[in-house]
């Protein structure tokens, strides 16, 4: 048969593949010829000469033969395309209807599968969002690949690790800038804090920058102008500032005439010359305004060893990264030698690297990637689980499929039918996953970057790339869509191929070809259980750590204590006037209704530690350091101990006449007493303290209880010196309140404004919130690991359920025979549950080994707990067993209800 023999009508009627364009064209040509020939024949039979007949036939065509043929071909092609599309659409609709019907018929199966996928896809999407924002998305500056960070580095020396990312001092930077040839623009910046002293007093963050800072980054002020390049030339430059758009909107209500006005920073007027574009907050990511470094005094900028600036440069056109890196390191030696007087240590040098590489602390980068790998793995397990459930379903439907195959359905068509079902399932899972992802990304965005950076050991990275910018955006949605598609194919294809492959006869007979596949599936469950146990062990340990942390005796009572900071800006108040000022302030605060007591201390508990220094006993002969100690110094008022409920153990605390001019006194904590004065009374002894003007020593007048400075380490040596004998500008105010500390906040603010309208008040928090912040990292770890463990556990339970259901389905005949031979329901149930328990037992044994090996990496994160803590392990084993029994109970119940007659007749 020639291609033209195929009959389009029949073809479509029986859903055969549509014809090719060539076949369609051949059909048309032949029809056209046949029509012309028929007309010629007819005309000749009427008596025309063949030539005249041919001419008449050509005339009746309506146009030239070629034109007609072309027209017909053209419209035929269009028609074929349309028909093919219609056919696809028809098929798709049919498949979708079929899938929807199938899923509706098994609501439990559908719910479990959708839930599994929602967990897997949601977790992956949220971590992807974080990875995208923190690691992938381009930095929001012009041509970011040209930008490089230049730092000082210091090689390792005995007792010190190598330092990779050190900041510049101004003289070293200018020497480097004048010598280098590879950067078109080179500038520096440093984070700084300012008090706005005009209008409402406010403490803000800013950046001190080089004049070409914005130019280097390719940022153009949205209003006003940029700093002139000449601003860099001399210290004591004209005081100008560029403010951020967010700050302009927040503080000035987007006043259109703000450019040209002045703002007082730390008591000095600065002219606002420009506003940055939206969302630009400097490389620190938190700057409200930018001030030229050169507005500082000349002597500030000539300190060779005053290291405080980061340097950023934009490479000249045509200079490669490699060329810039080697040019910069080549300059290391001459710059080092030019500053022979520097006390930085020997052999420091210079290093340039793409800004891109410096965007986030390496530790955060690594943990994010590990996390991404982990969730991808979870997603894979979720896929395998759903594939398993689908296989279970496929084996139930094998007969239906076999009948369809026998009736002549093409295998490809059936595979597509089954695939549509899994894609629908994946789509439902994808939609549900967005709910999961929405909550998870919100949680991620709320991770305090400060906590994370501290956790990361402060390893650099800059604030412009922050967790707070994590959100579900279009790229995340696109990612979810792609993942959903891939996932649907992964878990759908295998069962679909499997279901349609097996031999027709076998399938109709219902004989068992499942054995090999079921072994693989059992191994999978064992693996899942093992994994769940490892993750459960990790999260169990973290949760136990957390509860231990929370039950720690911190040495103080933070309930009903409000804390806040008030800063006297530089030049705001002479040191000698501070005690008087604070006396007035404390008296005013004490008068606020609801306030029981007021106290000062420069360093709150649980903040990680205070100003450290060396304490030396003066009653010992010089040169005997055996009873000296290192520890923290607190500037405090006498009321502080009572306000925080810190008990006095010996002696007294400060008295009103322990003021400037009176003999210097101090109070030490119990650890200090035990360390420096074992077996003797410290009272009356003199100690030299390296800070606060106490180097000539002060007399120990009392010993107080230990207060923890960080939650996870025991109290260290702490010394309290009276604030009145050593005034300083930055103090924290503690108010013991009669009721909820939050309730007095407004009154306290008002009182502070009356006494000190020019000083910024900030960081107002109940003491309990500070304590909570101290456990934030552990809590975060516990929550994260807990989520992973919950996911792993639910996946394992679903896995066990899937495999046991399959096993029951495959063994219907055997179970029927058992029941027919007299096995009662309980025995059958026990058989199935026992089989599930065996799988869980093997998995748990493997997992236990894995957990004992891998939880050792948690050692550092655990608090007062061994990684092999038996209580944790016992409870997770109980949890896992309970979950396993529940998961195999349902299939077991189904097995026990097998009707032997039905089971045997199904053969």
């Amino acid at each position: 048969m020639t291609p033209s023999d195929r009959r389009p009508g029949l073809r479509r009627l029986f859903r055969l593949p549509p014809g090719t364009d060539a076949a369609v064209d051949a059909d048309i040509d032949e029809e056209l010829e046949s029509l012309i020939a028929a007309r010629v024949e007819h005309l000749v039979s009427l008596g025309m000469t063949p030539d005249a007949a041919r001419a008449e036939a050509a005339r009746r065509l309506g146009a030239s033969l070629d034109t007609v043929r072309e027209q017909l071909h053209h419209s035929a092609h269009r028609r074929e395309r349309r028909m093919r599309l219609d056919e696809h659409l028809d098929n798709l609709l049919h498949d979708l209807r079929y899938a929807a019907r199938g899923l509706r018929r098994r609501p439990a199966f559908t719910a479990i599968a959708v839930l599994t996928l929602a967990i897997g896809i949601g977790a992956t999407t949220s971590i992807f969002s974080a990875v995208n924002v923190l690691l992938i998305r381009q930095l929001p500056y012009a041509k970011p690949d040209e930008l490089m960070k230049v730092s000082l580095t210091l090689p390792a020396a005995p007792g010190r690790n190598a330092r990779e990312d050190l900041v510049w001092s101004y003289p070293k930077f200018t020497a480097f800038r004048n010598a280098q040839q590879v950067f078109a623009d080179l500038t520096l910046y440093a984070s700084s804090q300012y008090t706005i002293t005009s209008g409402d007093v406010e403490l803000i963050r800013g950046e001190q920058v080089g004049a070409t800072y914005l130019r280097t980054l390719g940022v153009v002020p949205a209003r006003g102008r940029d700093f002139e390049r000449s601003v860099d030339d001399h210290p004591n430059a004209e005081r100008q500032t560029i403010i951020s758009r967010a700050f302009w909107e927040r503080r000035y209500n987007a006043d259109p005439d703000i450019v040209g006005k002045t703002v007082d920073l730390d008591g000095k007027p600065f002219t606002i010359i420009g506003i940055t574009p939206d969302r630009f907050a400097g490389l620190t990511g938190r700057a409200d305004l930018f001030v030229p470094i050169t507005t500082r005094a000349a002597e500030d900028l000539s300190e060779v060893d005053s290291h405080e600036f980061y340097a950023v440069g934009r490479r000249k056109a045509g200079v490669t990264v490699g060329a810039a890196v080697s040019a910069v390191s080549a300059l290391g030696k001459p710059i080092h030698d030019a500053f022979a007087q520097s006390r930085m240590g020997k052999d420091w040098t210079l290093r340039a690297r793409p800004l891109e590489d410096a965007r986030i602390a390496p530790l955060v980068r690594r943990s994010l990637l590990v996390l991404f790998g982990a969730v991808a793995f979870v997603l894979l397990i979720a896929c395998v689980n759903v594939a398993n459930l689908l296989l279970g379903r496929a084996s139930v439907r094998r007969q239906e499929i076999a009948v369809r195959l026998a009736l002549g359905a093409a295998r490809a068509r059936l595979v597509r039918l089954l695939l549509t079902e899994s894609l629908v399932l994946a789509a439902l899972g994808g939609v549900a996953s967005l709910v999961v992802a929405l909550f998870a990304t919100r949680a991620l965005a709320e991770i305090d970057p400060a906590v994370m950076i501290r956790a990361a050991g402060g390893l650099g990275g800059f604030g412009a790339v922050t967790f707070s910018s994590i959100r579900l955006d279009w790229s995340a949605l696109a990612f979810t869509f792609g993942i959903t598609l891939v996932v649907g194919l992964i878990f759908g294809l295998l069962p679909a191929l499997h279901a349609t492959r097996t031999s027709l006869v076998d399938n109709i007979k219902g004989s068992d070809t499942e054995v090999r596949a079921s072994t693989a599936r059992r191994l999978l469950v064992v693996g899942e259980v093992a994994l769940a146990l490892i993750l459960l062990a990790g999260s169990g340990l973290m949760i136990r750590s957390l509860s231990k942390l929370l039950s720690i005796d911190t040495g103080f009572d933070g309930r009903n204590v409000l804390t806040l900071r008030l800063t006297i800006p530089p030049g705001g108040l002479a040191r000698d006037s501070m005690p008087g000022f604070y006396d007035e302030l404390l008296n005013r605060l004490r008068a606020v209704p609801g306030v029981a007591d007021v106290a000062l201390n420069n360093c709150p508990p649980l903040a990680g530690g205070c100003n450290g220094t060396r304490f030396e006993r003066l009653d010992r002969p010089e040169g005997d350091p055996s009873r000296d100690a290192n520890g923290g110094v607190h500037w405090a008022t006498s009321t502080w101990f009572a306000a925080l409920g810190v008990p006095l153990k010996q002696g007294r605390t400060f008295a009103a006449n322990d003021r400037l001019g009176a003999p210097k006194v101090m109070v030490i904590n119990e650890t200090a007493a035990r360390t420096m004065f074992p077996n003797e009374s410290p009272l009356g002894k003199r100690i030299s303290v390296g800070q606060g003007g106490f180097s000539d020593g002060g007399e120990v007048i009392g010993v107080v209880g230990n207060v923890r400075q960080s939650i996870d380490s025991a109290a260290k040596v702490e010394v309290y010196i009276p604030y009145l004998q050593a005034p300083r500008p930055g103090m924290m105010i503690f108010l013991r309140t009669q009721h909820d500390p939050i309730s007095v906040t407004a009154d306290v603010r008002r009182a502070l404004h009356e006494v000190a309208p020019r000083y910024p008040v900030y960081d107002i928090q109940p003491m309990t919130a500070r304590a909570a912040a101290a456990t934030a990292q552990t809590r975060f770890n516990a929550i994260l690991l807990g989520l992973f463990a919950a996911t792993a556990l639910s996946l394992a339970v679903i896995g066990i359920y899937g495999v046991m259901s399959l096993a029951v389905a495959a063994r219907t005949r055997e179970l029927g025979i058992r029941i027919a031979l007299g096995a009662d329901q309980r025995r059958v149930r026990r058989l199935i549950v026992g089989e599930g328990a065996a799988l869980v037992g093997i998995g748990a044994a493997i997992g236990l080994g894995g957990a004992l090996a891998s939880t050792r990496v948690l050692q550092k994160l655990l608090f007062d707990l061994e990684p092999s803590d038996p209580i944790t392990y016992a409870s997770i084993l109980v949890l896992l067993s309970a979950a396993a029994i529940v998961a195999s109970w349902l299939p077991a119940r189904r097995a026990s209800r097998v009707d032997p007659v039905v089971a045997l007749r199904s053969e």
Binding site: S4, P8, G9, E30, E31, L35, A38, R39
Partner: protein
């Protein structure tokens, strides 16, 4: 006279409502029934046939004519028959209206 738009389709359906035919039979039938007043271009006819085929109003099948020539035979589908009934009624109604307007006498 050129045929009104859509009229050719109805005429073709009418032709096929008797029996399956190939293209030349259709055009000859239309010509003889209209006593030569309806002459359809072959190109237009083939386009119309393919159009109707796409709309599943007719189906085509290769067959052999009495002169032993291969030709594509068109047959009305049930959908085509329904369509033809509705459309021809509409068309007749339409011409009826046209006729009564054009032949109306001043009263």
């Amino acid at each position: 006279m050129a045929l009104l738009k859509g009229t050719l389709d109805v005429l073709v359906l009418k032709t096929l409502s008797w029996t399956p035919m190939h293209a030349f039979e259709i055009t000859s039938w239309l010509e003889s029934r209209s006593t030569g007043r309806i002459l359809v271009d072959d190109a237009a006819l083939l386009q119309a046939l393919h159009r109707l085929e796409e709309r599943k109003l007719i189906v085509a099948e290769w067959g052999v004519t009495k002169n032993a020539r291969r030709a594509r035979y068109y047959r009305l589908t049930p959908a085509g028959r329904n369509h033809f009934r509705a459309e021809s009624e509409r068309l007749v109604d339409h011409f009826d209206a046209l006729t009564s307007v054009l032949e109306s006498k001043r009263s």
